[in-house]
């Protein structure tokens, strides 16, 4: 994904500031690390100390509302962000309930919604997220019995 995506998605409704470009590029580059707003801010801050945390929050919220990024919640008390690459296979997240590690699970369950739009009861689904919980391979030992 390159910056012209922003131009297109903003569609004249939002201004393409250099701050927004930097934030977008940072989230693009670090997308597999699922950075939080604070993380993005800190990465950027080294090179561009003038960009404020509030701008990072505002921009991530904007990109999220436009479907450019996905806002994730792994249950650790802050939101995390990744690029929403519509043309790639949807991937989902496995979260270890013992150590908190996050593992990407590509393609699982994707076929249910990947057709783009999906109507159920007059509802039109444009996107979805799947979170799986359990024990990662390092934590599989000492695990309690499953809840069911």
């Amino acid at each position: 994904m390159n910056t012209s995506v922003l131009q297109e998605k903003f569609n004249g409704k939002y201004k393409l500031t250099w701050q927004r470009e930097i934030i977008f590029r940072t989230i693009s580059k670090y997308t597999d690390q699922h950075p939080s707003a604070e993380d993005v801010y800190e990465i950027i801050h080294r090179q561009h100390p003038v960009i404020g945390l509030a701008t990072v929050y505002r921009t991530l919220e904007l990109l999220s509302s436009l479907g450019i990024v996905q806002k994730l919640d792994f249950g650790d008390g802050r939101h995390r962000y990744e690029i929403n690459d519509c043309h790639a296979l949807h991937h989902h997240h496995f979260i270890c309930i013992s150590c908190g590690k996050v593992v990407e699970m590509k393609g699982i369950c994707a076929n249910t919604f990947n057709a783009g739009r999906n109507d159920v009861d007059g509802i039109s689904v444009t996107d979805y997220q799947l979170y799986a919980y359990g024990y990662c391979k390092d934590c599989e030992k000492n695990q309690p019995p499953p809840p069911c």
Copy 2:
């Protein structure tokens, strides 16, 4: 689900206090409303003003860690809770990105994980959540084109 579930799940490791019973019963009763911790606190407060908000938080966290309740995030800035009824068909949540309404979607995509445990790459999945986003039937008009 009745209170003896608690006795069993606590397994001697946690004490069965009347506060925990009340919180559990409240979340059981209001589970389809996905109450937040504050909501639970307020419902309980009418009858049991002595129970503190911190206890509600602590208990919901405990029940969540034991797999008795699911902690949900609909993106409105607070966590919400529902009973994790392992023996019922898993249900998921549709969240309208226009008005914020939440609609339950029963059974969709459930078969991917419903077999209980599911091993991928040494990972053992014990639970999962699926969030679908889009426009509810009241908001379908005036919707922008889908991101993909």
